[in-house]
Amino acid sequence: MIGRTFAAGLLALGLGLGLGAGAALAADEFIVVQSTTSTQNSGLLDAILPGFTEGSGIEVRVVAVGTGQAIKNAMNGDGDVLLVHARAAEEKFVADGWGVTRQDVMYNDFVLVGPSDDPAGVRGGQDIVAAFKAVAEAQAPFASRGDDSGTHKAELRHWSEAGVDVAAASGAWYREAGSGMGATLNLAAGMGAYVLTDRATWIAFGNKQGLEILVEGDPALFNQYGVILVNPEKHPGVKAEAGQAFIDWLTGPEGQAAIAGFTVDGQQLFFPNAGS
């Protein structure tokens, strides 16, 4: 009898929690945005999304993964809007019919971060390709995202321009984390490695240890974000109207002002440039 009462109690507790949580989660309308770890880890989306939800009544649910995975998830129809930073991959996504159109949203930049004793001697340089060559020559430890993200694609582009075959060095001085930006920064901090990161994640990152910015300001380090509505003709479940409303807000005056107004430690992290 006690056992049965107990089981019933457990069941009631479970159901009660279920109903309670269910009610709390009920929103008028919501969209799913597939985005990148940099927009979440820096705190940007948490800061600007409430402004959109207040005005529109549309809740924005963000799934933050690497650009590569975000694009694959969107191709599966598991998202209404794609907000990522890998222009070539984005344009291919639209050209292949998975997305409707691509619009610029904002940019930030990449920086090369490394240990303060700088074994490859790249400090103060403004040429990212030259810096990568120096790291390879010194065989200094380098932490790569290794996850097909936008940052990873940008990094591989610089290696190829530097004429360095990182595949050959994999497991030696070249370490592929296969993780998000933050996890890769933790790895680099732990082993005193060089790492390419977007500036926003770097500034907001709380475990810098002995790492600091060594190379910045090369125009090749420019990092453009784009936004795309997933094509409802491919996936009828896509909430095209609500998704488009979000894109219009993000690229319109209100969203652009919210992006410009987001700062961490007094520093602006993202620079709006929609329609330019």
Binding site: G3, L13, L17, L25, D78, G182, A183
Partner: protein
């Protein structure tokens, strides 16, 4: 830190969602796994041994593989996409049911089989058939079964690989304790992540202690009635 010390409502929502998802998963997994384990313990049919080996092996299912399988099922381009369950707590419960059911079933099978060996002669002499003896054996093994439930709960509440894949770690929707810890770690907020970890361990200890206490009281009351 103020988030933890201040009993922040956002933190409580995350804790409640963790408990909700894992408790629901354990309740559902128990409803499936206990009868299954008991049937496997008392049943006699060809292939039974192989099934038991399989069940024991499934206790070690890798969460990230379960997450991937459930994602592929629930994706809009998957067979169950029309249910629109991906990136909801429902999806997380499904993934955890898949992880926890083999644990509860295997541990139930183990303890019921031991009891069956002990009492089967007595039950047979009373004219109870093998299958009809299942409720009696389950009731007699209730303390061991509580341990099975707790093992299942421990697996569910501590798990991150599956829930982050099918839940998406969406703020205010599918963000639970483990995925919050993963996120704070990736932001480099190690102190915050550690503090959240301490809370998670505290919850696990509290739940286990509460269940053990209830079980002990149940035992005593049961004796008094006897």
């Amino acid at each position: 830190m103020s988030l933890i010390l201040g009993g922040d409502s956002e933190l409580w929502a995350i804790v409640l969602l963790s408990l909700h998802v894992s408790l629901m998963a354990v309740v559902i997994a128990a409803a499936i796994g206990m009868p299954l384990g008991a049937a496997l313990a008392v049943g006699r049919f060809p292939g039974r041994r192989a099934l038991i080996v399989l069940l024991n092996a499934l206790m070690g299912l890798p969460p990230v593989v379960v997450g991937l399988m459930v994602y592929l099922m629930l994706s809009r381009s998957g067979p169950l996409g029309v249910l629109e369950l991906l990136y909801t707590p429902g999806a997380m419960i499904i993934a955890q049911v898949v992880l926890v059911t083999p644990i509860i079933a295997a541990l139930t099978r183990q303890s019921v089989e031991t009891l069956d060996a002990e009492y089967s002669e007595q039950l047979r002499s009373l004219g109870v058939s093998r299958l009809a003896s299942v409720p009696t054996l389950l009731w007699d093994g209730r303390v061991a079964l509580l341990t099975a439930l707790l093992a299942g709960f421990g697996r569910a509440i501590a798990e991150v690989g599956a829930v982050i894949m099918v839940g998406g770690n969406i703020n205010h929707v599918t963000r639970v304790m483990t995925t919050t810890i993963a996120l704070e770690t990736s932001k480099g907020n190690l102190a915050m992540a550690l503090a959240l970890g301490a809370i998670l361990i505290g919850i696990a200890v509290t739940v286990t202690a509460a269940v053990s206490l209830l079980a002990a009281r149940g035992e005593r009351t049961g004796l008094r009635h006897a």
